[in-house]
């Protein structure tokens, strides 16, 4: 009785207390039990959010910052709840938990809310004074172009960069960020129609905002200075140059706006249009897919004098079609716009990378009436390409124009984001039968894809585009980019490997067949086809044989800033350091991750709850021994409403029929569904190994003597059951909460140890893991410890899972002795699966 008074004394904060009535004590118990339940629910929710974060990273799914934010918040909020509830249960104890929690939470906040450092500087820099070191001010493209211009023999057009300081000023003066954030917080990034609408709204907001007066004045001044330097009648191209892109990994090809032929009157509008294009649907979906945060991208611009181009094109300083030792030149009459937009048919020359840059192949468009590139020009372009590759240290994708005087201008140079795709087998494997619909074209990205045809001509069509359909378009315009992530393949009537959409399809590993004549006329909406880009053909139906050639699609988020944030956040969330509750290091102050905190709180909550029962409600006679014929002792402790009201509480024994805890009944049914066939017959060596381990393993002392005879406890309420089992040398725990509320429901299983050496123990754990996964558990393995969970499912389904656990607890006893024998392993595996399936089918 003294202990009861001690406890209540602690609770009320006085040292001497009068006897409390039974009602009052029951009431205290109720309060504690409620905390316990809330803690369990929070534990369940925290673990689920952790699993979602881990799965997103492991499966290479596309995830956004808001996903990371919301799931991390779910984890922290629920752990906060666990701590609060545990501290309530423990009468204000575990003070250090809050310190550990605060420390970890702050670290997570710092990673998630990290802001980019802003550099203040000039609003404008003449392009001939720009180099790579100014990337923070000028953005990637202008920094690269300025740097290229410093090289001997490379011409770039005159012009100036409009810096990040200028665009920041514009945003701040107009207070644009809060408005933009508000609009996007209410946007579903996976709904293209919604994205189009919101993107339009934000772009209008930017375009309608006035440029700060002084900035406007100086922008005109820069333009006028260009006039003085050059002809009186110049026009400029206003080009985007975003800061925060990592062009080595992501091309950002064609995502932003370029305004060509801009005169003085159109200058301000053109600049704002370029700034606004940061929020185009295609730019935003691309960033989402590739793992870039919108807030990390700052738009800068470049105003470059227009080159009066007679011929323009793209060079790849290393052939992207799989050829070794060559480079590619794509070109067409006039400006390069038609090539990168994929609207022009292009000519394609291949040259050797080494001097004297011998021309290996010329693919001319027979319908192009214009004079082609001369051999001298081709060689000069090859020289420029190799010079840029050497200077920048990686293969380059170079945009260029030639003026009427024959002078070559470099307009852009950026790393090739996807170096190679193997075009070796091009056209080698064609099924010449009635399945063949179309043949020819060029491969923009190798591989094969199958799905129903969906022809896209307008934005409205985009909104209807179904997942895994074959995207068929006339021109491979960059504006179709948002569909690439959900398409099975891309087919276009025009375009080349050098187009922006082709570049992006390679980044996503999407099979792309371009320049395929008559595609929009021949292919019929809804008809299932197989597009074989590698061999340049389209077939009726789905041809699995062709799909087999595909490599695994690359994860577009690999190496991205958002992926890195998730990796860093997960380091503070998921690792479990506190694994052993018996260890002296199992302490609140030593929790290093959110997972440690959940583990600690959960462990201690069970002790607090159980402790209460011991202290009062179930003192001495509290545990009731189950009447059963198994050679093991099973005891039941009623936490609340787990026994039938008719049960005589003075009795020392209880029949299972008097238990009304639904999870416990399910476990019990699983335990008794089949008779245990007894321990396996073991070779002397196998038995020897067990004994040897028993004497060697200090973790088993002094438990060895008592372990065989330990009582096993069920802690129950109507909806809850916690079963701790020490069967022989291993430890297992089943815990379940199955109420009418789906969010609360869960079943977990922990298993650890065993007397056999590592390989045998792991053998059994692997068998358990395999069977549990087969029956829908989420399984986590660390060494010889196993954690399995399933939650938020229908009640009957979860009762079924409890039966599986009950079955396994009984039938996997002592089998580690034979786990090293593959035949025995297989025999047990087959038997277990068969019996479990039979047991579940009887439900």
């Amino acid at each position: 009785m003294k202990r009861i008074f001690d406890y209540i004394g602690r609770l009320l904060g006085i040292s001497f207390i009068p006897t409390l009535s039974t009602e009052e004590l029951q009431h205290l118990f109720k309060t504690k039990y409620r905390c316990f339940r809330e803690l369990l629910t929070a534990n369940n929710n925290a673990l689920e959010a952790m699993a979602e974060l881990e799965t997103a990273l492991r499966d290479g799914r596309t995830f956004s910052m808001s996903f990371i934010r919301s799931k991390s918040t779910m984890v922290t909020v629920n752990i906060f709840k666990m701590i609060q509830n545990l501290r309530k249960m423990a009468d204000g104890g575990y003070v250090n938990l809050e310190k550990s929690f605060g420390r970890i939470q702050e670290q997570i906040d710092a990673i998630i809310d990290k802001e980019i450092t802003e550099i203040e500087g000039d609003w404008f820099i003449p392009i001939n004074r720009v180099n790579r070191s100014q990337v923070e001010q000028t953005g990637e493209k202008m920094a690269n172009l300025g740097e290229a211009g410093t090289l001997f023999g490379i011409n770039i057009p005159p012009g100036f960069a409009v810096t990040s300081s200028a665009s920041r000023l514009f945003y701040l003066e107009n207070n644009l960020y809060p408005g933009i954030n508000r609009i996007f917080q209410q946007t579903d990034p996976h709904d293209i129609e919604d994205m189009h609408k919101k993107s339009e709204e934000v772009q209008q907001l930017i375009i309608n905002s006035p440029l700060p007066k002084e900035l406007e004045r100086q922008l005109y001044k820069q333009f006028d200075q260009l006039l003085e330097m050059t002809d009186a009648d110049i026009k400029v191209a206003v080009r985007s140059s975003a800061l925060g892109e990592d062009l080595g990994r992501a091309s950002f090809a064609g995502l932003y706006h370029t305004e060509l032929n801009v005169d003085r009157d159109q200058l301000i509008l053109a600049y704002k249009t370029v700034l606004a294009s940061k929020y185009s649907t295609r730019a935003m979906t691309y960033r989402l897919t590739k793992g870039y945060r919108h807030e990390d991208i700052v738009m800068c611009a470049g105003c470059l004098v227009m080159v009066n181009a007679t011929i323009s094109g793209i060079c790849y300083s290393r052939s992207i079609g799989g050829r070794i030792g060559t480079l590619d030149i794509f070109f067409a009459h006039g400006s390069a716009k038609g090539i990168v937009d994929g609207t022009k048919t292009t000519n394609h020359y291949t040259l050797e990378q080494n001097v004297p840059h011998r021309i290996v192949e010329k693919l001319r468009d027979p319908n192009d009436p214009h004079p082609p590139l001369t051999d001298e020009q081709a060689v000069a372009l090859a020289e420029i390409s190799m010079k840029l590759e050497h200077h920048f240290g990686s293969p380059q994708d170079i945009e260029w124009s030639i003026d009427p005087a024959g002078k070559i201008y470099v307009l852009q140079s950026r790393p090739i984001s996807v170096h190679l795709f193997n075009a070796e087998t091009n056209g080698n494997m064609i099924f010449q039968d009635d399945r063949l619909i179309l043949q020819g074209g060029v491969s923009g990205c190798n591989g094969a894809g199958s799905g129903p045809v969906f022809i896209v001509r307008t934005n409205a069509d985009m909104n209807q585009f179904p997942k895994k359909a074959v995207l068929v378009v006339e021109h491979p315009l960059p504006e179709w980019a948002p569909l690439l992530k959900r398409a099975a393949a891309l087919v276009a009537e025009t375009g080349s490997e050098a187009g922006h959409l082709a570049t992006i399809s390679r980044e996503f590993g999407l099979p792309a067949l371009l320049s395929l004549d008559q595609a929009t006329q021949t292919l019929i909406n809804g008809e299932t086809v197989t597009v074989d880009a590698t061999n340049r053909a389209v077939y009726r139906g789905c041809i699995d044989e062709l799909l087999e050639q595909n490599d695994k699609r690359p994860n577009p988020m690999d190496g991205s800033p958002v992926q890195q944030i998730l990796i860093d956040v997960l380091k503070l969330i998921t690792p479990l350091n506190l694994t052993d509750p018996a260890s002296p290091y199992f302490r609140a102050a030593l929790c290093e991750t959110m997972h440690d905190l959940t583990r600690f709180c959960h462990e201690k909550s069970v002790i607090e709850m159980f402790g209460f029962g011991k202290r009062y409600h179930f003192d001495e006679g509290a545990a009731k021994r189950l009447v059963d014929n198994m050679p093991l002792e099973w005891w039941v402790i009623n936490l609340a409403d787990g026994f039938s009201p008719d049960f005589d509480s003075t009795s020392r024994f209880i029949n299972v029929t008097e238990v009304i805890s639904t999870p416990m009944i399910a476990i019990w049914q699983g335990m008794h569904a089949y008779t245990w066939e007894g321990p396996p017959s073991v070779s002397i060596r196998g038995m020897g190994a067990i004994f040897f381990q028993s004497t060697m393993n200090p973790g088993l002392e002094p438990a060895v003597a008592s372990a065989m005879t330990t009582k096993n406890y069920f802690l129950v309420s109507r909806n809850y059951c916690n079963l701790s089992v020490r069967l022989g040398y291993h430890y297992a725990m089943i815990e379940a909460f199955i109420s009418s509320l789906r969010t609360e429901r869960y079943v977990t299983f922990r298993f650890k140890g065993g007397a056999a050496d590592e390989s045998r123990r792991v053998g059994r754990i692997e068998l358990l893991a395999e069977i549990l996964s087969r029956f829908d558990f989420r399984v986590e393995l660390t060494g010889d410890a196993l954690n399995a969970r399933v939650e938020k499912r229908a009640q009957n389904f979860l009762f079924g899972r409890l039966k599986v656990l009950g079955y396994l607890i009984i039938h996997t006893r002592q089998i580690d002795m034979v786990m090293a024998d593959p035949q025995q392993y297989q025999r047990y595996r087959t038997k277990f699966i068969q019996e479990i399936e039979e047991m579940l089918s009887n439900d």
Partner: protein, 142 residues
């Protein structure tokens, strides 16, 4: 998150719920769904209106948006908890942030829900909050 499986509302049917949010469309949707389930529900546009409601009638559970004009949800939560500690509050927020979530919980919120709302998830949280609010009520009597 949800799979449309029905569950039993018990405690939620015995309580009076107040919803505080400045977005009329959102409020209307939630009101329709909750009323259809048989939950007794009042509405308020802002913190001041919410406090007025609390003065005039008993409320057990509040659903409250964090971002509201005037007094924001976190401040409002604190005011409510100061005067009516037995009321359970579920915080809603459109923009997840670890900080705001914890602030809400530290301010004594029962739970935290992200917009866009999964109605089934919200209902389950309401049921749990209602269960707790009923216990609070009993305790207050005792």
């Amino acid at each position: 998150m949800t799979n449309g499986r029905p569950f039993k509302l018990e405690a939620a049917l015995k309580i009076h719920l107040l919803m505080v949010d400045d977005e009329p469309d959102f409020k209307e949707i939630i009101q329709k769904r909750l009323s259809r389930m048989g939950i007794q529900l009042s509405l308020a546009d802002c913190c001041v209106a919410a406090l007025e409601t609390l003065e005039s009638q008993p409320v057990d559970v509040i659903i409250m948006d964090v971002s509201m004009p005037g007094i924001d949800g976190i401040q409002c939560l604190k005011k409510v908890k100061e005067q009516w500690p037995q009321i359970e509050v579920i915080i809603l927020t459109g923009h997840a942030s670890v900080k705001s979530g914890i602030e809400g919980m530290q301010g004594g919120a029962f739970d935290y829900c992200l917009k866009p709302i999964d109605v089934l998830e919200l209902l389950e949280k309401v049921e749990l909050a209602a269960q707790k609010a009923l216990v609070n009520k009993e305790n207050a009597k005792a």
